[in-house]
């Protein structure tokens, strides 16, 4: 395992080396020390690398990740795993706002809480939050799954498209066009798989409520204008 100490090396050197490491390389495991809230740590990975970051990070950690597994042994600032394509980003602590925003694939796991706008404009990413999420989470969510073991804040799933939302705790309020939906077998299976992949074995899929789009805003209609 290669070690990269951001107390003595630069962020540019870290990301450049991660980008230079191709699939099939022998050095696919990386340990990053002393991130001290740095922004853009381990962004743009495009190979099956494993990066363990020891400490808390700033904005956009794991941004646009493809194939990589990034684990942050601390908390993450805004925009963690922004536009992730594939792979895994795992935050052992809390995440700030817009975690997983616009993500198109992969799995984002947050062991703690996520702030507002978690999964905003999500486009295929799966997000599992062991704690709670803040307001406007999954706003305009297009595709993928947001799993929240705790509570959700106001306006959950506002203007939702096809993303599925599973919340175990309470929801302060639902956003425009977001409604509670029945949990069918297929959804229980999806949820069970997500929980397993997130390493969560102490809750049951049956404890969750599913939310999705009522699809009344899919095509503009003046009679729905009050919802906009």
């Amino acid at each position: 395992m290669a070690t990269f100490d951001l107390a003595t090396a630069t962020l540019r050197e870290l990301n450049a080396q991660l980008h230079a490491t191709q699939s099939g390389s022998n050095d696919t495991a990386w340990e990053v020390l002393n991130p001290r809230g740095a922004h853009s740590v381990a962004v743009g990975i495009d190979a099956p690398l494993h990066v363990d970051v020891h400490g808390s990070v700033g904005y956009y950690c794991g941004g646009m990740n493809s194939q990589g597994t990034v684990t942050v042994h601390g908390s993450a600032g805004p925009g963690v795993a922004e536009n992730m394509m594939s792979g895994i980003v795992h935050i052992k602590g809390d995440a700030s706002q817009y975690a997983g925003a616009t993500g198109r694939g992969g799995l984002l796991i947050i062991d703690g809480n996520a702030a507002s706008r978690c999964g905003i404009s999500m486009k295929g990413i799966d997000i599992v939050v062991r704690g709670s999420v803040g307001h406007m989470s999954a706003f305009m969510g297009q595709s993928g799954n947001l799993v929240v073991l705790g509570d959700a804040g106001e306006a959950l799933g506002d203007s939702l498209y096809e993303a599925r939302l599973f919340v175990r705790g309470s929801v302060k309020s639902l956003g425009a066009d977001c409604v509670e939906k029945p949990m069918r077998d297929e959804h229980l299976a999806i949820l069970a798989d997500l929980l397993e992949r997130a390493g969560i074995d102490d809750v049951e899929p049956s404890e969750f409520t599913r939310y999705g789009s009522a699809r009344t805003l899919y095509n503009f209609n003046i009679d729905n204008a009050d919802a906009y």
Binding site: L11, R12, N15, A16, H19, H39, S40, V43, G44, D46, G58, Y59, Y60, G63, M64, S66, P78, G79, E82, N83, M85, Y98, A101, T102, R104, R117, I120, S121, K123, G124, F139, M140, Q142, S143, S159, Y161, E162, Y218, N219, F220, I222, D223
Partner: protein, 442 residues
């Protein structure tokens, strides 16, 4: 003999003119505002209101067709390892696949490459047609992030972070369901047939400080190779330019209200933002105040039509211009050859703007395969290249007449204004005077 009062001529209201009345009736009947493509159609102060002061005795002209007048431009040398080098200072603006057909995107790429300039992607992401035929391709990083892919970021030659657009600063977009083909739906990760809303703001940042960090992320992902453009709508050009520079932009793209759009509310297109003429000088002033003029390049757009417009924009301090609507016209949009079909759609060639309906007879603003096949991308690309070359020759002709051996040497001193409004907006003297409205000391 009886006397009858002579009848008065029926008088139409200037306020409630025929168009306004038709809009009221349409709104009452349909319950929705008018959505259309294109740019502002109202008359606003524009480059036509400026004139060049050719050389006589006090200035020395260059010989046309004999003495060199360079047109090259380098964009993005501030931070990027690989700045963009173009032969001409005219680029193709961002226009999305989805709004435009694949053939249209290919034609734009072919034409731009023949003329030595760049094209720009749009809301739909990067298509193979465009990447394959564009020698220099700018990848737009948009609020919607439809089709956003880091591999495409790396395949691009520059990245344009779109914060605003001239036709709708502060507004999002709407691609109506009827234009959502299988391919468009797949690229945008949305079901077929539903209205696809483009967000008005980036979902993962909330202000200029976040923009700075976002730009840093994009640089890190692309190893600091690609120039980062920031595109703003012409609303508050001084402050938005200054903040874009502060955030780390290599290039600022400034789009005036005459800039086009794929589909937006008519009320937005016609009533929000400022004409590009009013935006250039404040943006240049911001660059000059920061000591960044010519270091951070300024690309302006919004109703650029010919070499005179290009020369005037450069004279006011821009480094390059960008064209959208004009490029579509060059490849065949609104061509009179399709007049019968335009009339069948209730309009006429030159006025067709219902691009969101996907019925464009010219095969350009459509996803209908039968219509889009009408556009020959090779021939259309040739037409665009011809047009770009003509604009460049026109720009050079004017620059030489002003005694300049590079089009970038044009300056405000080469201009005067025909109207008070244009003089004030462009910051050049009213013709026949040395007076610039709003400024003392002249």
């Amino acid at each position: 003999m009886s006397y009858q009062n002579p009848p008065t001529v029926p008088r139409q209201s200037a306020t409630f003119d025929a168009y306004t009345l038709s809009e009221i009736r349409r709104a009452a009947a349909t319950g929705i505002y008018d959505i259309r493509g294109g740019g502002a159609k109202r008359k606003v102060p524009h480059f036509d209101d400026l004139l060049f002061l050719g050389a006589s005795i006090s200035r020395y002209p260059l010989e046309g067709y004999r003495e060199r007048c360079d047109t090259s431009v380098v964009l993005g040398a501030r931070f990027a390892k690989k700045p963009i080098e173009l032969k001409i200072p005219i680029t193709i603006a961002g226009m999305s696949f989805g709004s435009l057909s694949g053939q249209a995107k290919e034609a734009l790429g072919r034409g731009a490459s023949l003329a030595g300039t760049s094209t720009t992607t749009g809301d739909g992401g990067m298509t193979e047609e465009e990447r394959g035929h564009s020698q220099v391709l700018v990848y737009q990083y948009l609020p919607s992030r439809y089709g956003m892919n880091p591999r495409d970021l790396r395949r691009a030659d520059a990245i344009e972070v779109v914060v605003g657009q001239g036709a709708k600063p502060g507004g999002g977009g709407m691609l109506l369901g009827q234009k959502i083909s299988d391919r468009v739906a797949e690229m945008r990760t949305l079901p077929k047939g539903i209205d696809q809303r483009s967000a008005c703001r980036h979902p993962d940042w909330t202000g200029p400080d976040d923009l700075e960090i976002k730009i840093m992320e994009l640089r890190e992902i692309t190893d600091w190779e690609k120039p980062i453009y920031v595109k703003i709508g012409g609303a508050r050009p001084y402050y938005d330019t200054a903040l874009a520079v502060k955030a780390g932009a290599d290039v600022v793209v400034l789009d005036g209200m005459q800039g086009g759009t794929a589909a937006t509310q008519e009320v937005f297109i016609e009533n929000v933002g400022q004409p590009i003429l009013a935006c250039i000088r404040p943006a240049v002033q911001a660059l000059q105040d920061l000591g960044m003029h010519r270091k951070v390049q300024l690309v302006v757009s919004g109703g650029i039509r010919n070499g005179a417009d290009v020369a005037k924009a450069l004279a006011l301090g821009a480094d390059a211009v960008s064209i959208g609507t004009a490029a579509l016209v060059a490849i065949g949009d609104n061509d009179p050859r399709w007049e019968a079909e335009y009339q069948a759609l209730g309009t006429t060639a030159g006025a067709y703007d219902d691009w969101h309906e996907g019925k464009d007879p010219a095969g350009i603003t459509t996803q209908n395969p039968e219509l889009s096949q009408r556009l020959d991308p090779v021939a259309a690309g040739r037409r665009l290249a011809n047009y770009l070359k003509v604009m460049t020759l026109e720009t050079q002709t004017i620059a030489r007449a002003c005694g300049k051996n590079h089009v970038h040497n044009l300056e405000p001193e080469d201009l005067c204004a025909l109207t008070l409004e244009a003089a004030a907006m462009a910051g050049v003297p009213l013709a026949g005077t040395d007076w610039i409205p709003g400024r003392s000391g002249f």
